[in-house]
């Protein structure tokens, strides 16, 4: 018989080999009887062959016969065979319930969490917007080279000029600086605040966005005097008009201007650009003042077929040198970002981090299941060996293993999908409302399919590994020796590597979670540098068509402040320009110091601007560090003064006493103000970054804008004051109302919401990863103890104490745990810098955090090893040495 046929016997019953075996057995038995009768081996062989006849002819006959038989196996027989296989697999699975349950659960957890994160990531990162060819669209804006101002807009006129001259962009549209702003809108006799975007007439055309129904804005809508029209977003249509199809033609009134707009179209789901806009209004009519538009705009354009975003940015940078009269060209440059990236903004790093964490968790889960399967494979090696000896081809054994593992994969997959669905719902509920594109999250079958296929594939692969590893020789040895020696060193090493790998990955996930968690805590407890207890912020809505100049607006504010001061429960009140944590939406300014030329002055850093009454400092609880605060006598007729913050003083007058120094303000530096006091930098405007601030007395303001919010310190709980507050404001004058009032804590919670979500999600991942890795280590150590029971029994019989045996096992486990932790630490040090955009006030390689993580995992490793080690100490040497199973 040809030897190679033996190796061909892999996938199905090899007829040649079977025939060979049958005839060989007969021949060798006959030879044995002749030898027992005293014949020499050679004689015996010769005689046996003679007696048998023509062995090759007989073999050929048998093979031919068997082939024909085999081919006749009908479909229904195969089906019956398949059912039998499934039932046998099911029985086998049910025989080891702890393994089956554990494997299914581990798979379900890893799969569920991964599905949830990938679903969300898909909506946020991967799914295309309802625009045509979105990757050819770029958002362009200017920024100061020294990053003192991160958005330098163009005037509408300049923007139009650029759009005529550009060679890198086929079409250009504009929208108001910063994208959109929140303003009260009345529709259906119901007033609410919406994000309103002012856009050019060709905006939707440039984007390639087609309305769901109705029409988009057109250039003809964007000329002075045209009928006021508005396009609404899908979500606005859904929440405000209840998916009612006859919304076209309905009226929307902008409360600040009193102008009523007619709805002409509804955009499809997923379009909320720029800046989460919910309503789009033509920019030119609304910004007309004295015959020309005062709009300051950012650009979005469609690249020509051979231009890149960098080309467009370069062109716009060059254009800035002609556009801005007040700033020299060299200091402003343009940046261009492809639209999908621009929209996602800074959620991108977070989503990528979670996707990575989910992938790691999935890998840990797969490794864990692989380990479980290998362990189980070992304890079944005797069973496998017997079956192999009885003629089951490797193919048949593999088929059974595949079926068993397939059933577990199916169960784990089904459970994982269910779990994942719940997790997605939980994620959606927990995410901050302003996460972009959050409402487009929905289940993607291909994602589900992908994740399941991956895990099932891994499971099946690891399932056949034991069958592949075992060779024929192993099978014979296994039959003779029993299971205690069938754990080959190779398979033990593989399992230990798997566990160490899980621990290493768990270190990564835990480190990320710990760092983000610390960031969140740092943020939550960041010192605001003012007293936020009993502080209330109220936002006002003013009818700007009634109060159409600054004087009237200032008088209005004064009246309101006076009324509010009289409200019982209010200790002090001051106007503020914006609500807290407005960040980039606040007010900035730049000024020259005495003796600076205009050209030099534009290099000065930009600072926060506040227009306040003297009560501001008492209301917020800010004391003077040097000099004095503002006082009532800092009024219209007296010397213009200001109070500056410490970093402002440091940057404008380094190593000098700022008191008495002057700043020159205005287009031609025609105004000035003198520093009378220095206060600490506060985080009112930005939780992450206390900024240089200048406080001007409202009474002396020469600016064209006025505060639209109030900061109020109450004597009792802030919330209790709100109803009286609302009445007082309403009563103060016509055309002003309270739009939003909340205790300061509410704003603070909003600012921390996203970091808190990140920390929460990562801790879920980390906890799962650590549990899985710990369970994996425990299972491996327990198996090890069981398999080495014989050897340990011998040791103990030879005089080793139970303590020594236990410490032997402990050492093994600790080596694994520490090894895994060290590798994980190395990986963390290399990759953690990718986290830095998520972190606040914590270095990605923060030693304290990393050491803490390592300690936690080593301790968990020790605990996981402890129980099996103690079990090893309780081995009865006699029983162990005799044991065969």
């Amino acid at each position: 018989m040809k030897q190679w046929r033996r190796y061909a016997r892999f996938w199905r019953q090899d007829i040649h080999a079977d025939v060979d075996d049958e005839l060989r057995f007969h021949l060798e038995a006959r030879i044995a009887t002749y030898e027992a009768d005293g014949f020499s081996h050679d004689d015996a062989v010769r005689m046996a062959r003679e007696r048998f006849g023509d062995i090759d002819r007989v073999a050929g006959e048998l093979v031919a016969h068997d082939r024909v038989q085999h081919a006749r196996t009908s479909i229904s027989e195969r089906l019956v065979h398949g059912i039998r296989l499934t039932r046998a697999a099911a029985r086998s699975v049910a025989r080891t319930p702890s393994f089956s349950l554990t494997a299914t659960l581990v798979l379900a957890i890893g799969l569920g969490l991964s599905i949830a994160v990938f679903t969300v990531a898909d909506a946020l990162l991967l799914r295309p917007l309802p625009l045509s060819d979105q990757n050819r669209l770029v958002a362009l804006q200017g920024e100061m080279r020294d990053h003192s101002l991160d958005n330098v807009p163009l005037s509408l006129a300049s923007a139009r000029e650029f759009s005529r001259a550009t060679k890198t962009l086929r079409d250009v549209a504009f929208f108001e600086y910063e994208g959109s702003w929140l303003a009260p809108v009345r529709a259906n006799d119901h007033s609410a605040r919406f994000q309103i975007a002012l856009v050019s007439g060709n905006y939707f055309d440039v984007l390639g966005a087609s309305p769901l129904f109705g029409r988009a804005l057109q250039p003809l809508d964007d000329v002075p005097g045209s009928a006021p029209v508005v396009v609404i977003s899908y979500d606005t249509w859904h929440t405000m008009f209840g998916d009612n199809r006859d919304v076209i033609g309905k009226a929307l009134t902008l409360e600040q201007t009193g102008v009523t707009y007619s709805i002409v179209g509804v955009m499809p789901q997923g379009l909320r650009y720029p800046n989460r806009a919910e309503l789009w209004i033509p920019i030119t009519p609304i910004t007309m003042v004295n015959g020309s538009s005062t709009a300051q705009v950012d650009l979005v354009g469609r690249l020509t077929s051979d231009a890149t975003p960098a080309d467009a940015a370069y062109e716009l940078t060059a254009f800035f040198s002609h556009a801005h009269a007040s700033r020299p060209a060299q200091d402003v440059r343009a940046i261009a970002r492809r639209l999908p990236e621009a929209i996602l903004g800074d959620t991108r790093p977070a989503v990528i981090t979670f996707a990575a964490a989910a992938a790691l968790l999935l890998i840990i889960a797969c490794l864990n299941v692989a380990n479980l399967i290998l362990v189980r494979g070992l304890s079944r090696s005797r069973e496998m060996a017997v079956r192999s000896a009885l003629g089951a081809s490797r193919g048949q054994i593999i088929a059974q293993l595949l079926t068993e593992n397939g059933m577990l994969a199916l169960a784990g997959g089904a459970l994982g999908v269910g779990f994942g669905t719940m997790a997605v719902k939980a994620l959606l509920a927990l995410a901050p409302h302003d996460t972009p594109l959050l409402d487009t999250v929905r289940f993607e079958p291909r994602l589900l399919g992908g994740a399941i296929a991956l895990t099932a594939g891994a499971m099946l692969l690891f399932g056949i590994a034991p069958a592949l590893l075992a060779s024929r020789a192993d099978a014979q040895a296994a039959l003779r020796a029993g299971p205690r020696q069938s754990a080959s060193r190779r398979s033990r090493l593989v399992r230990e590597l798997l566990v160490a790998a899980q621990i290493a990955l768990a270190v990564l996930v835990l480190a990320a979670a710990a760092l983000v968690g610390r960031s969140m805590l740092n943020l939550q407890h960041a010192d605001l540098h003012f007293d936020e207890s009993r502080l209330l912020i109220a936002e006002l809505s003013v009818r700007y068509d009634e109060y159409d100049d600054v004087t009237k607006q200032l008088a209005l504010i004064d009246a309101v402040v006076a009324q509010v001061r009289a409200v019982p429960g209010v200790r002090s009140v001051s106007p503020v320009l914006t609500a807290p944590f407005s960040g980039a939406s606040g007010w900035d300014a730049q000024a020259a110091t005495d003796g600076q030329s205009a050209n030099d002055a534009v290099r000065n850093p930009v600072f926060n601007l506040e227009l306040v009454t003297p009560d501001y400092f008492a209301t917020l609880g800010i004391a003077a560090r040097r000099g004095r605060l503002l006082i009532p006598s800092d009024g219209k007729g007296s010397e213009p003064v200001m109070v500056v913050s410490e970093s402002m003083a440091r940057r404008y007058w380094p190593s000098e006493n700022p008191i008495g120094k002057r700043l020159l303000l205005g287009q031609h530096q025609e105004r000035h103000a003198t520093v009378v006091g220095v206060v600490v930098d506060t985080r009112y405007r930005d939780l992450r970054d206390p900024r240089a601030t200048v406080y001007f007395p409202l009474a002396q303001s020469r600016f064209t804008f006025v505060p639209t919010a109030l900061a109020i310190r109450s004597t009792t709980s802030p919330a209790s004051v709100i109803p009286d507050l609302r009445r007082a404001i309403g009563a103060a004058a016509r055309g002003v109302s309270l739009v939003n009032a909340a205790p300061f804590g509410t704003f603070q919670d909003g600012a921390v919401a996203q970091p808190r979500l990140h920390a929460f999600l990562l801790s879920v991942f980390a906890l799962s990863a650590v549990i899985l890795a710990g369970v994996g280590l425990f299972a491996t150590m327990a198996t090890l103890v069981r398999q080495r029971a014989h050897e340990l029994g011998v040791r103990m019989a030879l005089g080793a104490t139970s303590g020594q045996v236990a410490s032997l096992m402990m050492r093994r486990g600790c080596v694994l745990a520490v090894g895994g932790v060290v590798v994980g630490l190395a990986m963390a040090l290399m990759t953690n810098r990718l986290l830095s955009s998520l972190l606040y006030d914590v270095a990605p390689t923060d030693p304290a955090t990393l050491i803490g993580v390592c300690v936690v995992l080593v301790v968990i490793g020790l605990v996981a090893t402890l129980v099996p080690a103690r079990a090893s100490a309780r081995i009865d040497p006699l029983v162990a040495m005799r044991s065969d199973a």
Binding site: E22, F25, R30, G53, I55, L62, D66, L390
Partner: protein, 114 residues
């Protein structure tokens, strides 16, 4: 004296096999040994011919086979009688008895052989 398989009718070999398996379920070599012992080595058949006969018997459904481990842990194919096989054996045994009785009467008939 060995009798070649060509001297025996196919059916005869099959009856021998069935009777052997009626005595005990065994492998091909076991069948050969049983025949050897029972006929006192008179019927030393060409052992290779057993196997095609076993296949044919299995095709007809008179015997069933399965792989097992021999006494010394070697892989071997074991055969056993089915119910149909048992019934066939009984029928054929009756026919053989009648046949051999008829031959015996012929041989005993006059004139007698010395």
């Amino acid at each position: 004296m060995p009798i070649g398989s060509t001297d025996l009718l196919q059916g005869t070999l099959q009856i021998l096999i069935l009777k052997a398996l009626f005595a005990e379920s065994t492998h091909g070599f076991g069948i050969a040994r049983w025949i050897e012992r029972t006929t006192d080595d008179v019927l030393a058949i060409e052992e290779g011919s057993l196997y095609p006969a076993l296949r044919r018997l299995e095709d007809k459904g008179f015997i069933a086979s399965e792989w097992g481990l021999s006494e010394n842990n070697r892989r071997a194919r074991y055969y056993s009688l089915t119910a149909a096989g048992r019934a066939h054996l009984r029928r054929e045994a009756a026919a053989w008895t009648r046949f051999s009785a008829a031959i015996a009467r012929v041989m005993r008939a006059a004139p007698a052989l010395s």
